[in-house]
Subunit: 342 residues, 2 copies
């Protein structure tokens, strides 16, 4: 255990389940016994919901969900929940508008994240700009979703904003890539004074040949959680096998003031596909974290992750357990520690 | 012929040679009879100079040259010339400093461009940021080269700045890519208020399956030349064969106020490898434009291009001939015409 403290709002109604007897005590993260929380054919015309992001809102929770249509094309759907485990979805995919209020829909949209900064909710996702790119929108009421400038040139995926500005700047992680099933990928940090122009790009951490579970590529997952030890980041790490890629959940702790510096990085995955809903599906062997709900008072963390590109799973830990585990198993490389422009 | 006018300074001492009898009159660009202007082993420890950029300076010309060391690693060398064809090089590669004045060298640096905006000379090149990325530096005296922020996340190559701000913003073309011998690539435009933060990324034009000589990838070449018809852009277009890629020189004219809009795009290449120094070398079959010297009064244009990753070649045209040729053979696709955020 660690005496780390989580910094942020209290969310006493967050979903929670204590570690069960069937969960090995030496693993720092345990699954919800009711998994998957979202099953197949959740909506008319939507075959699968997965890789989705949720956040506390009003007296419950709200989320943006990757819904893969029966035409095979992904779009983003709004969902609401009172308890964080039972979700109801709007029938129509989210309709975006441009800054003048005119309809402005991406051709496709997938793997959304949802982060609140200073009373505005920002959504970021992957979409087409003649290749895989980051799209962004803002909302304050979850009724009007206004697209704002794409932050980066293609090709990029897995953008996730920090939940507060640092030194007056918005900060965002992303994973530059190519336009296909990218066989490489590191996590970078960029900053913006205004959500229009981005710069001061820094390498945060890379795929790691010494950690076989993340030796192909990595990418930001849930929005970083502020703690007294630094920013707790749940991310995905990918390895390759003769029968395809395997996506596990990893953990790292980034410096609070200069988050391109990795303070601790867990050499072990925190969670890896082993349940039927993680091993079987449209893309077998994927656990892909996109959001957490967490409560500063108790230190509890609920991790929402896509499973096998077919389901949404939920897993739990506490900031004390997971930070202790990451620190105990930390192995930080020279490039993870590097500061500044290269 | 076209009644287009070039906008910019007069450079009466620019290198020039009239079209020779051996040059087919129906080709809009002709080669200098003294090509290649830079041959093998130009400097001790440097095997080849190619893909380099030059600019008028004081009473002659100055340039930044990709010198491939005998260790196989590229760096940038400074060269000077009185006539634009005979060049002398500094023995030591350019030593960069950071904004505090401390040494700050890229691990490698290649394919530099050199553009003057408001009395400052900006150099941009390709370098490593855990993958191919754009590096930038500024100088006013060609003695101190100060590295500034990398404008974009990796992976990217072929960045080239416009020679003036548009609507108060720096404008730059680039070619997002992967980190290898990228098998795709379009030209994008980005803008910056301050050379630190970049945004409002727009697609300019893509590889074109209908133009077989540029059906794999394209990339910005020389800094755009302002004309009354728009920004005249010489770029490279690439096709693939069973024995490798072939790099030709293409031409397009971009809207003066919104240069992400392609007004004209030449369906034919303007120049393609056919001479021994273009077909033979470290990378056979490459003509790769990186700079022009041009004279507004006469409309003359000298194109500097890398040849076979081994030599520097020089070719000539006039703004009247080449703009007429581009317009006469223009074929602009829907994506080339697209305006705004996608």
């Amino acid at each position: 255990m660690s005496d780390v403290k989580m910094i942020g709002p209290n969310v006493p109604n967050m979903p929670w389940q204590e570690r069960g007897a069937e969960t090995k005590g030496f693993m720092p993260v345990w699954r919800y016994s009711g998994n998957p929380i979202i099953g197949r054919n959740p909506l008319e015309g939507v075959a699968r919901i997965f890789n989705s992001a949720v956040i506390p809102y009003e007296d419950g929770f709200i989320g943006v969900f990757r819904g893969e249509g029966t035409d095979g094309v992904p779009h983003i759907y709004l969902g609401r929940s009172q308890n964080g485990t039972d979700w109801t979805f709007e029938k129509e995919k989210i309709q975006f508008v441009d800054e003048a209020g005119n309809p402005f829909m991406p051709i496709y949209a997938y793997d959304p994240r949802l982060v609140k900064v200073e009373e505005v909710y920002y959504m970021m996702w992957c979409q087409d700009c003649y290749g895989a790119s980051i799209g962004m929108a803002r909302t304050t009421d979850f009724k009007t979703f206004t697209r704002i400038e794409n932050p980066f040139l293609p090709f990029n995926r897995n953008a996730v904003l920090f939940p507060r500005k640092i030194d007056g700047k918005f900060m965002m992680l992303s994973r530059p890539s190519d336009s296909g099933h990218t066989p490489f990928g590191d996590i970078y940090l960029s900053e913006s004074p205004d959500m229009v122009y981005w710069g001061k790009h820094r390498h945060v951490m890379g795929k790691n040949g010494d950690h076989w579970w993340e030796n192909v590529k990595i990418g930001g997952g849930a929005a970083p959680i502020e703690t007294t030890e630094g920013w707790l980041l749940f991310y995905h790490g990918v390895t390759g096998t003769c029968n395809g890629l395997v996506y596990s959940i990893g953990g790292a702790i980034l410096d609070r003031d200069q988050p391109s510096i990795v303070k601790y990085r867990c050499a072990n995955f925190l969670l890896t596909p082993q349940e039927w809903y993680e091993e079987r599906g449209f893309v077998p062997n994927v656990t892909f974290p996109c959001a957490t709900i967490h409560d500063a008072k108790t230190g509890r963390i609920a991790i929402y992750y896509g499973a096998a590109d077919s389901y949404v799973g939920l897993a739990f830990t506490t900031v004390h357990e997971v930070v202790a585990y990451i620190k105990d198993h930390s192995r930080v490389s020279e490039s993870d520690r590097e500061i500044g422009l290269r």
